[in-house]
Symmetry: C2
Subunit: 225 residues, 2 copies
């Protein structure tokens, strides 16, 4: 790992200054930079322990997958974000499995679970950091769950479309209805029906290329935002 | 707080031995034992910070509540269980609100958030403990969420009835359909319809007093357990 990488680690791990030189060396030499293509799976098989993830560039999607293949997006990660849920073998209090895909071409540092485990045993501040990062995800996931469980789907879909546009700019969400269903934890038919309703209300226009938002203000009002 | 109480704290907090005598005194003198009647609310108003909970006796239910009044049970707590989600003012990584009710007449130690915050700032092992307890709840909550989001309701209801009997013994779940709906995060009509279906299958018998399970083995098979 070169100087630039060490610098990126220093900036990304808030507890970096708490590590001894030897511990810094341990973590740096046991991390590898992996490049993933858009759509590629990074973590997922049951029981697997990939290690901690640190995103250098791109975007990752963390989701649950049911036995029937239904997906629920829990959160996304961008540059500088750290994820510990993929290191459940060293965080024994985590007993559930998530899946991680690259949503764009991405570069990800993967910190080897053995090295991480050794650090956590020897330096309580590292364990503290890992647990705190996990608790932050807990809050994020709870937010998502409340949206899914409590909000009616019309409001959720409106919010989703608006959030996508915020991210990509422009006026068109370039996703298939299948993808929208996946990302909102719904079924394609439900998405299709709701988009038809939105189109009827002149909120959106549905085409092969995606969903064009005609009236963002009205959609926003609809989302109750 | 008397000797017996200190002993209960020692047994319940795994990090007790990491505390100095002064810290132990701080926590004990800033905890109060509160008695709640069955059904009474313990924690809930938005923005409120009750403190950490330690159950001395009884049973608590921790749940989410939507704006429309829909409840989703996240987990339950029994003797010796500790909950940090009610101390979100000292655990800044927790940004969501839960509700807590006594499900039975219960005795609960409430640890003052200020004292807890002071301890967490001064003793990294206490912060560690609080975060670890929270992460364990994260896992528990994720399990529940997956049941709700992914399992079809028939299997969920079958599992719920079996679990209740495991807890109470006997062959009858003495809950109203309204209560069952609440505890399974569903609607009364859905519960009613499914129980009718179960009754048709000779799995249960529904009466005013509750739901009698006629064929636990068949219900178990139905739950896919």
């Amino acid at each position: 790992m070169n100087e630039v990488d060490s610098e990126f680690f220093r900036k990304s791990f808030s507890e970096w200054a708490r590590l001894s030189e030897e511990e810094k060396r341990l973590i740096v030499t046991h991390s590898k930079l992996v490049r993933y293509k858009k759509g590629q799976n990074i973590h997922g098989n049951k029981g697997g322990c990939t290690g901690a993830l640190l995103v250098k560039s791109g975007s990752l999607r963390i989701y649950l997958l049911s036995d029937e293949g239904r997906e629920i997006t829990l959160f996304r990660m961008y540059e500088g974000d750290v994820c510990m849920l993929t290191a459940s073998c060293v965080l024994t209090s985590i007993t559930f499995d998530v899946f991680v895909d690259a949503e764009l071409d991405s570069e990800v540092y993967i910190v080897c679970p053995n090295a991480l485990g050794e650090l956590m045993r020897n330096n309580v501040y590292v364990e503290n950091y890992a647990l705190r990062k996990t608790t932050e995800r807990f809050s994020e996931v709870m937010w998502t769950m409340q949206q899914i469980l409590f909000m009616s789907f019309d409001r959720r879909l409106a919010l989703f479309l608006l959030k996508e546009l915020e991210k990509t700019g422009g006026d068109t969400v370039r996703l298939t209805q299948e993808q929208i269903a996946k990302y909102t934890g719904s079924a394609r038919e439900v998405v299709s029906r709701m988009l038809k309703y939105f189109a009827g209300e002149k909120l959106v226009e549905v085409s092969r290329g995606g969903v064009r938002v005609l009236d963002p203000a009205a959609l926003k009002a609809f989302a109750g935002d």
